[in-house]
C-alpha cells in the first residue's frame, strides 16, 4: 500500500469511526436516559402502591384504640408521617433540608422520595412520605450492557470501515498504480538513449573531436545529465519501498568532490563562483545511492535556482554539509511545503518537484537534521547535520 493511500485510508477511517462513535454515543445516551426514567418510573409506581397500602392501614388504625398501633412497611422503604404542622407523627426517616412536601416525586442524593397528601387526616397524618434508594444495581447493569454493545458495535464498524475505506481508495490506488507503471515504462525507455548520448559525448570529448563547438557540446552534456538525474530520481522513488539498502561507512568527502565535478559543466554554464570547504575523510554510514540522491538534489537545486554569475558555497565538516546559493530564495510559506512531492519553489525552472521530497526521505531514513534558511532575493542555505552519525 502506498503512503498516500495509507494516509487516505487512515483519514477516512478516522472520520468514519469518529462520526459513527459520536452517533452511537448520542444514541446510547438517549437510550440510557430513557431506560433510567423507565426504571425510576417503575420504582415510582411501586412507591405509589406502598403509599396506598399505608393509607389503608391508617384508615384501619384510626378506628383502633389500643396502646400500640403497628404500621406495616415493606423493605427497603422508609417512612415519615407528618401532621398539618409538618411535624412527624411517626417516622424512621430524616428528610433532607431541600425537601418539598408539595412535590409528589423527588430525587435527592440517590434517594427517591414520594409524598402523598391524605384527607381526611386519619390519626392526624396529613403527609405520607416514603423514601427508597434509586435502584443503582439495575442502572449499573444497564450501563454495563450499553458499554458492551458499544464495544461490539465498535469492532464491527472498524472492520466494516476498513473494507469500505479500501473500496473508497480503490480509484486512487488504480490511478497511482497507473502513474507508477507509466513512470516505470518511461524511465525504462529513457535509460538506453540517455546512456548512449552521455557515452558518446564522453567519447567525443576524449577524442577532442568537438573543436569549434565546445559550448554546444557543453549544453548537450548538461541537458543529458539533467535527463539522467531525473531518471535516477524517478527510479529511486519507484524502488524506494522495495529497495534493499547497503549501509556502510561512506566517504562523503570523496563522493561530494566527485558530484561537484559531475555538475561542473552546469556550474560553469551558469558562471557561478564556486567556493568549497571540504574536510577530508568525512565518513558517514550510508547507502551510496541514498547519499548520491541527497547530494545531487541539493547541488542541482543550488545550481538551478541560483542567479547567473552568483555564488555557490559548499562546506563539508565532520558534523554537517552546508550548501549556500545566492538565488531567488523562498518565503516562509514556501519553505513549509517545499519538501512535499510535486511542489516546486519556483516554476521558472524545469523539474517535477521531487528533489526535496527525495532529500526529506533520505533525511528521515537516516534521522539526519535538515535546516533551511532562506530570504527572498538573497538566497538559500541548506544544512544537513549528521546527527545520528
Amino acid at each position: 500500500m502506498y503512503h498516500s493511500e495509507k494516509r487516505s485510508l487512515y483519514r477516512f477511517l478516522t472520520i468514519y469511526l469518529l462520526s459513527t462513535f459520536l452517533l452511537f454515543a448520542v444514541g446510547a445516551t438517549v437510550f440510557y436516559t430513557l431506560e433510567k426514567h423507565h426504571l425510576i418510573d417503575n420504582q415510582r409506581q411501586q412507591m405509589k402502591q406502598e403509599g396506598e397500602y399505608i393509607h389503608h392501614q391508617l384508615i384501619a388504625l384510626h378506628k383502633r384504640f389500643s396502646t400500640t398501633l403497628p404500621l406495616k412497611l415493606h423493605a427497603p422503604y422508609k417512612i415519615a408521617l407528618l401532621n398539618m404542622d409538618k411535624k412527624p407523627v411517626a417516622s424512621n426517616l430524616s428528610l433532607p433540608t431541600s425537601f418539598h412536601l408539595d412535590t409528589e416525586y423527588q430525587i435527592d442524593n440517590g434517594t427517591l422520595f414520594y409524598t402523598r397528601k391524605i384527607e381526611p387526616y386519619y390519626l392526624g397524618v396529613v403527609y405520607i412520605v416514603l423514601a427508597t434508594p434509586v435502584d443503582e444495581a439495575a442502572l449499573s447493569k444497564l450501563r454495563e450492557n450499553i458499554l458492551l454493545f458499544m464495544f461490539a458495535a465498535g469492532i464491527f464498524f472498524v472492520i466494516l470501515g476498513y473494507f469500505l475505506g479500501r473500496l473508497f481508495i480503490a480509484p486512487m490506488r488504480d490511478a497511482i498504480g497507473m502513474m507508477n507503471r507509466f513512470i516505470q515504462d518511461t524511465t525504462h525507455e529513457l535509460n538506453t538513449p540517455v546512456s548512449t548520448i552521455l557515452t558518446n559525448l564522453e567519447l567525443i570529448q576524449a577524442l577532442n573531436k568537438c573543436n569549434g563547438a565546445k559550448e554546444e557540446m557543453q549544453r548537450i552534456e548538461i541537458a543529458s545529465k539533467t535527463i539522467s538525474r531525473i531518471y535516477d530520481d524517478l527510479t529511486y522513488l519507484k524502488l524506494n519501498h522495495a529497495y534493499h539498502r547497503d549501509i556502510r561507512p561512506l566517504n562523503i568527502s570523496a563522493l561530494l568532490q566527485e558530484r561537484i565535478a559531475y555538475f561542473s559543466a552546469a556550474i560553469s554554464a551558469k558562471q557561478l563562483q564556486l567556493k568549497t570547504e571540504i574536510a577530508d575523510d568525512v565518513v558517514v554510514p550510508m547507502d551510496q545511492d541514498d547519499a548520491l540522491r541527497l547530494i545531487d538534489n541539493l547541488l542541482s537545486n543550488a545550481i538551478k535556482y541560483n542567479r547567473t554569475g552568483g555564488d555557490l558555497r559548499i562546506a563539508l565538516s565532520q558534523e554537517a554539509l552546508r550548501i549556500v546559493d545566492s538565488g531567488e530564495g523562498m518565503d516562509e510559506e514556501t519553505l513549509k511545503r517545499v519538501h512535499r512531492r510535486f511542489v516546486r519553489a519556483n516554476s521558472s525552472e524545469g523539474g517535477f518537484g521531487i528533489g526535496l521530497d527525495i532529500v526529506h526521505q533520505v533525511i528521515h531514513n537516516y534521522q539526519f537534521d535538515i535546516t533551511f534558511r532562506s530570504k527572498r532575493h538573497e538566497g538559500t542555505e541548506v544544512i544537513i547535520t549528521w546527527s545520528s552519525a
Binding site: S66, T68, I79, M84, L123, G124
Partner: protein, 125 residues
C-alpha cells in the same frame, strides 16, 4: 424565738402554696373531666380522634376544644348533631383560662397517638 416561729409558719404556708400550684395534670384531668365522661360513657378517645382527623394540628385542636368548652353548641362541637341526642350538650365551663388550657393539654397528651404508632418493617415478599 418568736421570730423563728414566724419564719417557720411563713415557710410552711409558702411550700403548701407551691405544691397546690403544681397540680398533677393527669389527676386533675381525671377529676375535672374524665370522671364525668366515664360516668356518662362519653367516648373521649373517639372524640379526640375526630379532632385529629379534622385538624391534624395540636394547636388548632387546642383552640377548637377551648372554643367548645367555653361556648358549647352543636356548631362549635366536633361531633355530629345526632351525637347530642344521646349525649346532651354540657354547660359552659367555669374554669379560668389558664387551668382550662392546662387541662386541654393534659387531655391531648392522654389521648394523642404520639409514640403509639410503631413502624414494623416487612421483607419485600
Amino acid at each position: 424565738m418568736i421570730y423563728q416561729r414566724f419564719y417557720m409558719i411563713i415557710a410552711i404556708v409558702g411550700l403548701t402554696g407551691t405544691a397546690c400550684a403544681q397540680e398533677n395534670s393527669t389527676a386533675s384531668l381525671g377529676k375535672a373531666c374524665l370522671s364525668c365522661h366515664q360516668a356518662q360513657q362519653i367516648p373521649s378517645e373517639m372524640i379526640y380522634r375526630r379532632y385529629l382527623m379534622h385538624y391534624a394540628s395540636k394547636e388548632t385542636i387546642k383552640k377548637k376544644i377551648a372554643a367548645y368548652l367555653k361556648h358549647p353548641s352543636t356548631d362549635t362541637s366536633i361531633m355530629p348533631a345526632p351525637f347530642f341526642r344521646k349525649f346532651p350538650l354540657k354547660k359552659a365551663t367555669t374554669l379560668d383560662d389558664k387551668r382550662l388550657e392546662r387541662l386541654i393539654e393534659a387531655y391531648i397528651a392522654h389521648y394523642d397517638v404520639d409514640g403509639k404508632i410503631v413502624i414494623v418493617t416487612q421483607d419485600e415478599d
